[in-house]
Symmetry: D3
Amino acid sequence: MPTETTNKIAVYPGTFDPITYGHIDVIKRSQKLFEKVIVAVLENSRKSCLFSTAERIDMIKNSVADIEVESFSGLLVDFLKRKNAFFVIRGLRAVSDFDYEFQMAIANKSLVPEIETIFIMTDKEHFYLNSTLVKELAKNRADLKDLVPEPVERALQEKFK
Amino acid sequence: MPTETTNKIAVYPGTFDPITYGHIDVIKRSQKLFEKVIVAVLENSRKSCLFSTAERIDMIKNSVADIEVESFSGLLVDFLKRKNAFFVIRGLRAVSDFDYEFQMAIANKSLVPEIETIFIMTDKEHFYLNSTLVKELAKNRADLKDLVPEPVERALQEKFK
Amino acid sequence: MPTETTNKIAVYPGTFDPITYGHIDVIKRSQKLFEKVIVAVLENSRKSCLFSTAERIDMIKNSVADIEVESFSGLLVDFLKRKNAFFVIRGLRAVSDFDYEFQMAIANKSLVPEIETIFIMTDKEHFYLNSTLVKELAKNRADLKDLVPEPVERALQEKFK
Amino acid sequence: MPTETTNKIAVYPGTFDPITYGHIDVIKRSQKLFEKVIVAVLENSRKSCLFSTAERIDMIKNSVADIEVESFSGLLVDFLKRKNAFFVIRGLRAVSDFDYEFQMAIANKSLVPEIETIFIMTDKEHFYLNSTLVKELAKNRADLKDLVPEPVERALQEKFK
Amino acid sequence: MPTETTNKIAVYPGTFDPITYGHIDVIKRSQKLFEKVIVAVLENSRKSCLFSTAERIDMIKNSVADIEVESFSGLLVDFLKRKNAFFVIRGLRAVSDFDYEFQMAIANKSLVPEIETIFIMTDKEHFYLNSTLVKELAKNRADLKDLVPEPVERALQEKFK
Amino acid sequence: MPTETTNKIAVYPGTFDPITYGHIDVIKRSQKLFEKVIVAVLENSRKSCLFSTAERIDMIKNSVADIEVESFSGLLVDFLKRKNAFFVIRGLRAVSDFDYEFQMAIANKSLVPEIETIFIMTDKEHFYLNSTLVKELAKNRADLKDLVPEPVERALQEKFK
């Protein structure tokens, strides 16, 4: 079992293609709860990404102050071990993700029993927001200022120029 | 806010690859409610289509009498603006679409606040019917006469000859 | 089939114990679509009500300008017939109501085939709001000003004095 | 905003009529994350309880070592304020609770913005376990040893003697 | 483990207050699969019933030819044991029952490991039909001939005379 | 209608890429109910498979004793006809499959009315297990011994060597 002093490290994994205000809301809520929150950017996501891993990491660093961001590939539990982290953070948005979320949470726990997956509710403003929608809107030159931070908005405009 | 006399125009967007009796059921119900219903065929759908945009439009025109059909690409709200329409029609079929439907409805409303998304219930005969199923059945030469109108059945037979 | 000129009358049925900003949001959206919207207050609801039918009607009239409000008991379709209305309005809030909503919509349609049930999405501010929650909060003297109109707030304060 | 040193207090509210291994699983997971976890037993639950508030508190104390247990009535947020707690813990079991959980979480947050509701996944052994089922089984003299701790089993046997 | 020759007995438990064509559809489908299907009418249901246990049994016998019907109280698994049955039949209607169905199926299996719960899909005509709806319609003198067999219709008319 | 003596043949269709203990659990439960269970491996699945059809069939035969396994392409109902089978078995795992399951069950029934789709509940150990997860874990050299039989584990290790 994790000792009292070292275990309040949490990992927030995802594709972040790109990061939205929904993700940032989850990060800020998590930081109130954990000593350290590491954003873990999945490298070889099954879905092909609009932005490279490096670009996705840069956008997160430019959007959230003082946050540790790293990329990872392979199993999440292996990344957790390397980081000595025992908590996984998942943002709760929509019913439809649920099944997959539970599956991953149970799979991770069966691989490393000490791991807890903590679900944090996105605020209702961001409950239906996701990266796919943001990209769709960006492609059609819609206003994104309520959906993503300014550095992300600029990066999207650049991509779809 | 839309004025009383001009705003009863509704747009029913979709891929319609191909149109089924489920879609036609929604169109007929909508026509009882709105002064004009425009079927908007999405051009650059993310999923690759079996039929071209022109073929999909033709099948709709051959299956529904006196209906306005147009293709569109880009954001639905931009198409609505061009058509001076303030209502979007969505057929309610299955729970699993729900999250996406709400997301799109909220996104559209946040882009153009006057827009209302109206959900109309498909009758229970068509509650589990969709275009993917129809194509799967057509590919295997199943009888389609309860699922799609005759011009669509012929077009499907031609494709899978 | 309803004729073109007389059929744009809609009924919005419910218990309204009490009316909330969520209900009012649905009424306002409906009024953009229908010539007349009648709020139908269910008299003998299975759940016992905090407010009498008369009180519930009064609160609606004091909260929404120029709205027709009536009580009804028995089958909704019988009320619709008396009002010569062919449309039922239902606010779409949460996944969990869904099954019941469909059941009622199909039951109503099987009794009177001309009836259409139209689902209108509550805005996201009110997506998780309902009368039970409002009463719970009122009982504990919480601030209700974002949840119900001022006449309803006063009536609730009076009840729980 | 809560300060770094005082805010790691969490409240786990519920009826606990009686406590099950599912609840205890959530408590143990929470204790790894928070400095203090207070179990808050709801006094005037809408559903009438099999056990009195005092009995329910006793069973919790007899089942979980070194846990702070208190009863509360009224709004949860008022109890949180009195305890200087900013976190609410909810066990994630079944899809059907979801809507209610979100509603309460949003309502609590709208009353006291600093409050975070944290969802913790029950392990799969207890995913379908609840107090109602336990009482049903106890009434029919089924074996309860995998469902509730020994003091609860005895209390149930006593009740249904 | 049940032996090959004796175990094709199934129990279909429920309140049946009253039996509908939805239940009968499930019974008929079950009879194609099992050697014997026993309809088990729950005596002390938590919800108070419109019809007495004897009336509910009579209506089933008058509506379905050559069916074994019995009442039971207490745990379903105890009834199964007395009947030497290893299969429980449940009609699959709506998403919202799901959680409860799984809970009961798992509970039954944990009490008697040999028990299998078999879910059979109601046909789409009856997917949204249930006894509560039927009673609501009967109370208001709606036509019930597509929903319940003739003996049930008469019994309902008698009750609500 | 199927005759009493020939109709207790069931088909369990799927991709089985690869077979897991979840599938095997469903097969074993089905064998208690049916005279013969045929595992039907879908050849031209829309999703590209990790294993060839021959490899998938081999793994099933090496993992389950005395089971009939065949590949099929085209419509499931055509395969059922060739096998003189009237029952389709589906494992019930997660809510999210539900819509698709019903659609297929209704489609199959509308093509061949005698066909019944029987849903069997996976035990709770396997409720969140699927082939995609297994492949993801195998790719990252996780321990698979609780998820798949030994011949499948070896085949996966070989693939990802």
